[in-house]
């Protein structure tokens, strides 16, 4: 009996820990995008911020240290979105086209920079990484303790960020202004809010968070940089925002779900359960997103002015 229990608990423990690890960078990027989208801007260039954050983190961590690496990743992600904010918020260019261009630009640019810094065939880098920090007491809670409380510090920052963001969204003037701009820029303007400024700040925040997600991929997980290592995580983050219904807690939960789907796939393959193709688990969260979208078609939670090019209807 005990053996049977062990045989079940041990994989579950690993699975939960892997879920949280995989979800962390996704949640960071998605929370940032959540703020951006609440202001009425959809940033498809998120992938670009992630990959730039990853490269900047790699270079900075290798030459200075891990904490500087995180700061560098955040800054790089932010700088990428300066370009995006300039074109979409101030010049009112099409958000989808600009975002796509920024993603392509970043994937190309990081490859170019990586080769110019480390040579044309790369080096198989090993960068310093943060190790997991166990929270005393909490980490010894059965089952979920180690999964939730034996993680790198950046994950704990996320635990604080989610409730803080929820409070800010729905309980402060700043949050109200943000949501107002995303729903009706005209009304916001009439109430004395400057929509462009709000949108620009929201876009920059999203970029910084995506850059932090990229830094996490390198400094808290893989310990190396590889071209295209963002591997579509920016786009997954956008899906997570939809699934999370544009609320911080919803987004965090959706990110965990996406992380869990990946972890489940790792677990099943390692258990040798190959009867079900692994691809099925990878599409699972997307199917869920579609279902949520379809169910909510009548009463959408999306900001009304999302992706709108003209700021005012006048």
């Amino acid at each position: 009996m005990n053996m049977l229990l062990d045989g079940f608990i041990a994989p579950l423990d690993d699975f939960l820990a892997a879920s949280v690890r995989t979800a962390t960078p996704l949640a960071l990027a998605a929370l940032g995008e959540c703020v951006t989208e609440r202001s009425g801007v959809i940033n498809i260039g998120l992938e670009g911020s992630i990959i730039c954050g990853a490269l900047a983190a790699t270079i900075a961590a290798g030459s200075v240290g891990v904490s500087v690496g995180f700061a560098a990743g955040l800054t790089a992600g932010l700088l990428v979105t300066v370009l995006f904010a300039l074109f979409t918020v101030y010049l009112r260019a099409d958000q989808i086209i600009t975002g796509t261009a920024i993603t392509l630009l970043s994937l190309g640019l990081t490859g170019l920079l990586y080769k110019s810094v480390y040579g044309s065939t790369g080096v198989g880098l090993t960068t310093p990484t943060t190790s997991a920090v166990e929270v005393p007491l909490l980490s010894s809670i059965p089952l979920v303790g180690r999964a939730l409380f034996a993680q790198p510090l950046v994950t704990y920052a996320l635990y604080l960020l989610v409730p803080a963001m929820a409070w800010w969204f729905f309980r402060t003037h700043g949050g109200l202004a943000l949501r107002a701009v995303g729903e009706s820029p005209d009304a916001a303007m009439a109430a004395g809010v400057q929509p462009r400024r709000v949108q620009a700040l929201a876009v920059l925040f999203g970029g910084a968070m995506a850059g932090l997600a990229g830094a996490t991929l390198v400094l808290a997980q893989s310990g190396t940089f590889v071209e295209n290592m963002s591997a579509g995580k920016g786009f997954i983050a956008i899906a997570i925002v939809v699934l999370g219904r544009w609320t911080p807690f919803g987004v965090a939960g959706a990110a965990l779900l996406f992380g869990a789907a990946s972890a489940l796939q790792y677990l099943f393959q390692s258990l040798g359960w190959n009867a079900v193709p692994y691809q099925l688990f990878l599409v699972l969260p997307y199917v869920l997103t579609l279902i949520v979208l379809a169910r909510a078609s009548g009463r959408t939670a999306a900001p009304a002015a999302l992706a709108r090019r003209e700021l005012t209807l006048g």
Binding site: G108, T121, L217, M229, Y278
Partner: protein, 357 residues
């Protein structure tokens, strides 16, 4: 009047913005991640060789080896070379056509996945030779190049089978391509030769780029008891090495000699001497001796080999090493039939002698 002007201004600004961003993006993508043309090389541009890789040439593995081969072709044969990194099958075909139209003599699609596109494009450019590595189809100007990766994978399996302390070993691949699957089967059989009770876990990542997926998949296998993990995942393989360091398990390098990437954890590399293989085909094309065939490169041609990491060599008992070598000799002499059903049919033909027409 005012409204028209505003509209005009809006349209004008948008057009400028979109064009500007798109232009920057495309130009950077063209010279950065995607393509670098080293248009030096041959005078008169007589002998032009192009390489398409499915991933970045900074992967320290499959793609890096091919790029080294391309550079060798430039240096030794005086060719002018071009490399492009491609992503999707639609791009494969488009790039093949581009090179065909530009009069390239030899275009190499680096991987099994390029084969369908090459088959479609080859008839339209009869003066260009298209070669797909790991390909198994031929046409008048289309050749395949088969690496018997399985042979050295079998040897790696023999070592893993005997060295495992837990009795469980793993294998992790990028995408489930036939050559990858075949090499894992060979690895498993090799392991069962030295350890009939060994348990082999096989996982695929579904990607060649996602390092964190590589790491997580390895952690999952290690959690299930694997203490040696074989891999064939290109850039994502770097994540497998990261996990091996973190959990102190052993692993193997693949495609290139990766022993130095994690010198304390890589027992050896299943090495493909891609420069040697690509050079021999390029020589045939340049010398006019190209015939449509499937080039066979394995242990016998000394293109595929298992390169033991000297720093961990003392972990392999001499008797095991002798056994591995004797299997290697049997393969070279064509006396080894354990894998006949695994290898693709063409594999059973004799190895081409690398470097001779």
């Amino acid at each position: 009047m005012n409204a028209t002007f505003a509209l005009f201004r809006l349209a004008y600004r948008n057009a400028i913005a979109c064009v500007a961003v798109a232009a920057i993006a495309l130009s950077t993508a063209a010279c950065g991640g995607s393509a670098d043309t080293d248009g030096v090389g041959a005078q008169n541009g007589s002998f032009k060789v192009a390489l398409l890789t499915p991933g970045p040439i900074t992967d320290q593995a499959w793609n890096a080896g091919a790029y080294a081969g391309l550079v060798a072709i430039k240096d030794s044969l005086g060719a002018s070379i071009s490399h492009i990194q491609t992503r999707t099958p639609a791009e494969f075909e488009e790039n093949f056509r581009q090179y065909g139209a530009q009069g390239y003599a030899l275009v190499i699609g680096h991987g099994f996945e390029f084969q369908d596109a090459a088959m479609r494009v080859a008839p339209d450019y009869p003066n260009t030779v298209f070669v797909c590595t790991s390909g198994n189809t031929t046409g008048p100007n289309l050749a395949g190049m088969n690496f018997a990766f399985e042979e050295a994978s079998y040897q790696a399996g023999m070592i893993a089978g005997q060295l495992t302390k837990t009795g469980t070993i793993g294998a992790i691949g990028g995408q489930e391509l036939p050559p990858v699957r075949a090499s894992f089967i060979a690895f498993e059989r090799g392991a069962k030769l030295t350890n009939p009770d060994v348990n082999v876990l096989v996982s695929y990542l579904g990607t060649w780029d996602d390092v964190s997926a590589g790491k997580e998949q390895t952690l999952a296998q290690v959690a299930r008891g694997a203490d040696i993990v074989f891999q064939n995942a290109d850039a994502a393989g770097l994540g497998i090495f990261a996990a091996a360091r973190e959990r102190n398990v052993l692993t193997f390098g693949a495609n290139a000699n990766q022993n130095d990437i994690a010198p304390e954890h890589i027992i050896g590399s299943v090495y493909i001497d891609l420069p040697k293989a690509l050079m021999s085909v390029a020589r045939d094309v340049q010398g006019g001796t190209f015939t449509s065939t499937i080039y066979q490169f394995g242990l016998r041609a000394n293109v595929v080999s298992l390169v033991i990491n000297p720093r961990l060599a003392d972990r392999i008992p001499p008797a095991l090493l002798a056994r591995v070598d004797s299997v290697g000799n049997a393969i070279r002499e064509g006396r080894f039939s354990e894998m006949n059903d695994v290898l693709q049919p063409a594999d059973r033909r004799q190895d081409s002698a690398a470097g001779t027409p």
